[in-house]
Symmetry: C2
Subunit: 331 residues, 2 copies
DNA sequence: TTGTACGCGTTATCAG
DNA sequence: CTGATAACGCGTACAA
């Protein structure tokens, strides 16, 4: 910028004014400066710019489990859409359900002074965020903060799980299995608890043999582990074998579909989260709208950045049961 | 940092040393400083840090079409893995195949002084990048740069297309349709050209009625438009109707699968790119490895940043035909 | 082992 | 309308 000023024969501040389109510069001067900008291929440095007090980085941080999971990819897209619309950019990082990694990533993002943080948490205690920087606007996604007051955009997992169980029971099932990963510990536990409650309410009991929750379902191999788990369930003696399965995430659903492929008996299946081509495969799912979740979370974050200061909100997104065949197999 | 220094009764520089773990500070001093850091909740500001000459932002920019497309999501994950492993962060933005948006995003990223840029281009001329900043390491993904010397990590679309055509011809097809979107103009044109060549070589001619390339396949609605296009093909009189279809991207494949669902006649289908659950649906695809593409591109970018300076490279990733049923329907 | 002075590229303030 | 100067938070060079 100094070079541009020299080249144009004006002061630094004048260049700044022209570059930022501020008013109060003579057209002739503007032309001179613009010529110099062209000649020297000058490009404003937004890093230095955001160093100024008051000025922000115009950046949002997003930490998710895994971009390659369509559920999180949709969240990412939603957040990106809103961010771009407001002139913000999004730093996205996958923590792979690793609490340690999550902390590292969050810390790095805070050091970079992101104006806002969107977080799908894997860790069990988020006081470290407040400890690091109290002034960053943080919105939790999919799972609430632990030990921290913060906004959260969540799914109605309780409702969704109830719908699924009710649907299967209505189709005559009583031996319903629950297969989940533990990636979102909170989510998983919550859905499992709802499952138990719903089962007790509608069937009278839960067969714990039919509950598989995460032991061994490590990150990165959820699909394979879910497949194994479902195979194991299907190899139980006939009278204890489940007639229906509820899978609690899209990864698990995909694994279950693989496992059920070769099965002689038709087993009912309802999965949490949409799965691509699920319509063609006839997979009944409890669907939510992760794109909208990402949008809402980003919008809330930006509102907070721009001064909104009512108490932390907890927004719960609805779920919807989409019958497509697999959930309507009679028990 | 000044406050910390005051609180600890030491100089600014000493705090800097402690914070960055530099040697040559007395343990007692370290303790004092660390106490002050705790008390004041000090967190290093990496924005200011990267402003220093020589210091970089440790950030990579990635511009893709759409994170919600599993192909690009896989690229994103690969790039993120490598970035994280090297202490870099990734700013990812979806340009939705809009050349204008691509330019805006790239410009914004350059202004933020990303150290490297990974770009799945939609625009047809990339001189603007060199014009803006000559010193940023740029690697193109999926499609090469136009009017710019730059590294590129590409797919072997020619080979993949040939494989697909050969496969279908080997199964007795002669009336093979090509359905593509124009999202990657370069890619689309190239695959279509290869398709024509392969058809002429193996069948002797191309029925242009069976070539649908993008007219009307606008961004964001590729799936629906592909579905419509395939429906139209299937409603041709029997002797001109295709007996096989080659779809040139995962979005188009999904649309085609929807269109073919209700069809009375079985039509063969080979798609470019993997589609999730394609194995269960029996979809024959020409598969590549987008995760690895993202990794390789990020690695190359980092090597460039760290000084590698051989001439621009063009890395071509192999493709593989995966027979699963839909491509083996006899013609 | 610790401190001082300066500069990174920009914008805010205030004077001319 | 335009310019000089300070400041943002940090690290480098050098001095103490």
């Amino acid at each position: 910028m100094r070079d541009v000023a020299a080249h144009a024969g004006v002061s630094l501040k004048t260049v700044s004014r022209v570059v930022n389109g501020e008013a109060g510069v003579r057209p002739a001067t503007i032309a001179k400066v613009e010529a110099a900008v062209e000649a020297l291929r000058f490009e404003r440095n937004d890093v230095a710019r955001s160093l100024r007090p008051g000025h922000r980085t115009q950046t949002l941080g997003l930490v998710i489990e895994d971009v390659a999971n369509p559920y999180f990819a949709a969240i990412t897209l939603g957040a990106d859409q809103v961010a771009q619309a407001h002139g913000y950019l999004l730093i996205t990082a996958s923590a792979h359900a690793d609490a340690e990694r999550e902390r590292e990533l969050v810390t790095t993002l805070l050091r970079r002074r992101v104006d806002g943080l969107l977080l799908v948490p894997s860790s069990a205690d988020h006081r470290y965020i407040a400890r690091a920087r109290a002034d960053v606007e943080t919105v939790f996604l999919d799972r609430p903060a632990r030990n921290l007051e913060a906004d959260a955009v969540l799914l109605d997992d309780v409702g969704g799980t109830k719908q699924a169980v009710a649907h299967l029971v209505a189709h005559g099932h009583r031996r319903i299995a629950f297969v989940g990963d533990e990636s979102g510990v909170y989510t998983a536990r919550r859905r499992l608890a709802s499952f138990r409650r719903a089962m007790i309410a509608r069937v009278g009991a839960v067969d714990e043999q039919l509950v598989v929750n995460g032991r061994g379902l490590t990150a990165g191999a959820e699909v394979e582990h879910a497949e194994t788990a479902v195979r194991r369930l299907m190899s139980l003696p006939a009278r204890r074998r489940p007639t229906a399965i509820f899978t609690n995430s899209n990864r698990v659903t995909v694994g279950a579909l693989h496992a059920l492929r070769g099965q002689p008996d038709r087993v009912a299946l309802v999965g949490f989260d949409e799965v691509e081509l699920g319509d063609l495969l006839g997979v009944t799912v409890v669907r939510s709208n992760p794109l909208e979740m990402g949008r809402i979370a980003a919008e809330l974050t930006l509102e907070r950045i721009h001064g909104r200061d009512d108490p932390p909100r907890r927004i719960v997104m609805p779920t919807e049961l989409v019958p497509r065949g697999s959930g309507e197999i009679a028990g």
